[in-house]
């Protein structure tokens, strides 16, 4: 049994298998809050705790997937490139909105963490919670935060945006498609953009542009100040 678990293929099969399983479960049951990414991470952590299997052993297989982090992140360039026309048409509002959003995201996370006396490593992991997971994980790793905590923060922002966006735009009277799209994209990345697309096609497009822009701006801010 021990040999089986020690085999890198075990970790690899478990990771991909659980992800596929949760994705199928979500498609079948249509339960929106099933987040296959977060569910898989949680279940693997539980399995490792029960089996008393250390992280290094899991990473023998897991590192095969981690090896692809740079190539898969580089492909995000394609989604920015594809939207270049829409970017040109709305450059000023997009730039202003995503810059304001990124600054607000980072400073509010800093202030709130200090207010609550949050540990330094956790604080650093939450600064990037409003950008897409690949960028948040890379930046958190660079600053010395905890990648898993960064992923949790990113998921909280994403899920809140996905669930609350239609209510928030009404309550706070953000009526135009650019206000809505840019607010959603800057604050809750791809998960929010999914809902933005349901609210309207141009809202969705603006949201996915804004998520790319706020990622770039967050990278710049973090590199300058942290």
């Amino acid at each position: 049994m021990k040999e089986l678990i020690m085999n890198p293929l075990f970790a690899l099969a478990m990771t991909i298998g659980l992800y596929v399983l949760f994705t199928k479960l979500k498609d079948k049951t249509k339960i929106g809050f099933i987040n296959q990414f977060l569910f898989t991470i949680t279940l693997i952590v539980i399995i490792l705790l029960i089996a008393d299997g250390p992280y290094e052993i899991y990473m023998k297989g897991g590192s095969v997937l981690s090896m692809f982090l740079t190539p898969v992140t580089s492909l995000l360039a394609l989604s920015i490139y594809r939207e270049r026309k829409k970017v040109k048409e709305n450059l000023l509002p997009i730039l202003a909105g995503t810059i304001a959003g990124s600054i607000a995201s980072i400073t509010s996370a800093l202030l709130l963490s200090n207010l609550l006396n949050l540990e330094e490593t956790i604080k650093l992991s939450l600064l990037t919670k409003c950008v897409t997971t690949p960028i948040a994980v890379a930046l958190t790793n660079m600053m010395g935060g905890i990648e898993g905590v960064a992923a949790v923060g990113v998921m909280i922002a994403g899920i809140l945006g996905n669930v609350l966006a239609p209510t928030l735009v009404k309550v706070f009277k953000l009526n135009g498609p650019s206000e809505q799209g840019i607010a959603i994209g800057s604050s809750s990345h791809a998960l929010g953009s999914v809902k933005a697309l349901k609210m309207g096609e141009d809202i969705g497009a603006l949201s996915s542009i804004s998520l790319s822009f706020s990622a770039i701006i967050t990278v710049i801010i973090v590199m300058i100040f942290f």
Partner: protein, 124 residues
């Protein structure tokens, strides 16, 4: 035809890996720290706009990978297991900080855009 498709994916992967390698090398040379993955994103973006890499050079492979991008981030996030002690005491703070900061970001971006639109409209 099958053979042709497989070769297409392999050549697309080669391009993606080479661009990534270039990004990783650049991040090593730069005088300030920049994650290799972000440097690779920048390199890919520049090459796309310069039309050195064309969309059809990476299209099929990109769709397949981007649709399932989360899988690749699972192992590094499972690393949270080494910090469970920290989490036990502060999980609720993580939720509060993330939620409030999300709301503040949403409003900052939304109202900034609203202000910009109003200002640019006022001009004749």
């Amino acid at each position: 035809m099958e053979y042709h498709n497989a070769m297409k994916i392999l050549s697309q992967l080669t391009i993606i890996f080479l661009v990534s390698l270039l990004g990783e090398s650049i991040s090593l040379i730069l005088p300030f720290p920049m994650p290799g993955s972000i440097a690779a994103l920048g390199v890919m973006l520049i090459l796309l706009f310069a039309k050195v890499v064309k969309e059809e050079h990476i299209k099929e492979t990109s769709k397949y990978i981007l649709d399932n991008i989360a899988i690749f981030f699972i192992p590094s996030c499972v690393g949270i297991i080494e910090h469970l002690g920290l989490l036990k005491s502060s999980w609720w703070k993580i939720i509060i900080v993330s939620s409030l900061s999300f709301l503040i970001t949403f409003l900052a971006a939304g109202y900034t855009v609203k202000a910009v639109i109003m200002l640019t409209r006022r001009k004749p």
